[in-house]
Symmetry: C2
Amino acid sequence: MPSDLEYFFEPKGIAVVGASPQANSGGNHLLQNIARGYRGPVYPVNPKHKEIMGLKGYPSVSAIDGPVDLAIVFVPAPQTPEVLRECVSKGLKGAILENAGFAEVGAEGKALQDECTTIARQGALRLWGPNCMGLIDMNKRYVFSFMLPELWDDLYAAGSISLIVQSGLLSAGFIMSVVSRKILGLAKVCSIGNKSDIDEIECLEFLLRDPDTSVIALYLESSAQGRRFQELAKSSIKPIVVLKGGKSDAGARASLSHTASLAGNYPVFRAALKQAGVREADDFFEMVDIARCLEKGFDRRPGGPGRVAVLTYSGASGIVTVDHLQRNGLVLAPLSPETVERLKKKSPPWMPVNNPVDYWPAIEKHGVVGALKEGLSALYADPGVDGIIVHLFAGGGHWVLDPLQIMAGNADHRKPVLLWIVGLKDEAEQMKRRLEGAGWPVFDEIERLVKVMSTLL
Amino acid sequence: MPSDLEYFFEPKGIAVVGASPQANSGGNHLLQNIARGYRGPVYPVNPKHKEIMGLKGYPSVSAIDGPVDLAIVFVPAPQTPEVLRECVSKGLKGAILENAGFAEVGAEGKALQDECTTIARQGALRLWGPNCMGLIDMNKRYVFSFMLPELWDDLYAAGSISLIVQSGLLSAGFIMSVVSRKILGLAKVCSIGNKSDIDEIECLEFLLRDPDTSVIALYLESSAQGRRFQELAKSSIKPIVVLKGGKSDAGARASLSHTASLAGNYPVFRAALKQAGVREADDFFEMVDIARCLEKGFDRRPGGPGRVAVLTYSGASGIVTVDHLQRNGLVLAPLSPETVERLKKKSPPWMPVNNPVDYWPAIEKHGVVGALKEGLSALYADPGVDGIIVHLFAGGGHWVLDPLQIMAGNADHRKPVLLWIVGLKDEAEQMKRRLEGAGWPVFDEIERLVKVMSTLL
């Protein structure tokens, strides 16, 4: 059964209601963004203009003279019911309400939103929003959103992570942050706002079937649909990351006044997520960090505490890493005799081989590439090692290197290898881009790296 | 009593032993760096060159024909004892050994290091290092280090945070990261390496008396001098931040093999730090984040759990912030009736005033500057609020603003106000620079922000 969401992600014709020729307006951004990738017919609807951005303007949805599945609505909230009535009579399949002024502004707005939902339900029109940023399909370059058009000038290569974000304003901030920082490759983004009709469960079902999506990350507050969510997650072969809002008592109380949804019993929710194999994040960018590791294929689920090896050039960094490992329930992997033998060959005789592996003396003897490549390869081959943390330095002297030389040959069986880089800012950023592009996740902070490692293992 | 360290920080003449005309060598970097700010006589010592970088070259320390207090040594390790004997007979006061190949490379190196220490002790010569990056005084622009000269081309305005960093290689990575990222304004940096003579306690004593230093941050592994450290910290009016390595059992074992120092009983150490009013960090950049807040004057120590108010435009961000507050032992401040009254005046009538304070409706009514300025000012005036977290958005639309307009007037009694910014990358970075420059700490992650707030309160 094809999902109703197909009409949103691949509509035959889009009416932009509230389209505007005025620069820096949402109604203008929408037209600019849609024109980036969408090749079907676009109908600007605005009674004041006969032409907008070279397209014929329509006084109303009813006046549209071609095929049209979807309306994107950006008019003052009180005009929305009338627009939806026209959409229904015109036989449209869906409407994305990107305007605000509904349930989020109190009782009056809630009544208006309910009126819209009733009109839509009676007319078999599906609603997305209101109070949302719409949707994005990076692979098709569809941006059905009023977000700043400049954001898409220099699009990051599309990836396979899809996001579901509630909370209108957060979507704006968070999605803009993620896109403009080029932190990860996105497939689809669903900013679902007030969820008057389409909700996160329906989006999740759609993304689980979506061939472009390999990892799904979402922000959830309520667990009203917790059981359905758990079922979906359990049967999913795609990894899912959740940031749950309202984990603490105080947070749950705040959530009650935010979305009037019962944040529920967090320990129960957490156990359900864990049982369903869902990874959990505690912060917005941590969710993104976990998702980018899962996208790179690091999705192992061994039993018992994860056994980690640390390859470092600095005793202090190794020690601080070990402190964080223990705090996160991970253990230092005991190295196999074969691994110790291999590492000893590269080390000077006076250097004891332990975990953390201090490879600085080996670097002085064999150069940075030789020492690191052999060290990493030995740890990668050790079946008692579930994950590896490598500390790199970006700068001059010994350290002028192509990091991919070191990593080559270790990508076959997808043991998580997470990298921490310090050093000169520009050099570190360059090294980071090279590694990330080749599928190796890089972190700025040991604390975050170890937390993500514990989530992966 | 003037400290022996005066000879290191303000020497009358410097011999650079191992100075080199060859680009990209440590011995050349040293000369370039010293020339940046030091105006006293500099004597390159290298038997192969009569002139280096326009300065007269000397075949040996003995041959120096002017006043000289300090030698900076960058020769192969085995040549060091001979250099130190010359320093002693020439009557030098101190030597910074920036060369490596001593205790950090095993028993043979340890014997060489002990030989150097004996020569120095017998000759009343103080030793700094070996295996270190030397020292920096940002105010005087003294860089007595072989770190890359390009780092100092575009020096960040000097600040009042001083660092003490052990662990040779970590110093390099960490200090280069901090300096090149321009994260904070530094006063003095002490990279003390193997601590054959001068140790962190002596540096701490010096910095506690140093008029340019207002905050001291340091990485500590061993607590061999724990009691002295505690005494110094307790009597200090300058805030101190410590990152302790080897907190966990596993970390302590790793520390044993790193510096052969007993990391000791962490709970005892922690209690001692707490009693002495020392702030504790768990990661390298977290140490820096805490230090930059303390430098800005946020150094209150109220009793009881810190009561925090959150000013946000996004329900979800507010909820996630509250979850982190509870996890870090902070509580949501109950707002006073006066504060609620003030906030109500700016909010639409349907909007309940809670903490977190959702100011989005007020923004729609009064504009972002009006809403935020009044909201922050009300919370700032509330005696039941110990700290304030403000969420800002960097981007277009409503949000084109000079953030300082909002913050103005709230700096008088130094209640911690920490800001979280998401949004467009370039706009966010610009906003961050403006705020940081005016004394307001900005964070990228809610998790870190709340952790730092808990450390401050």
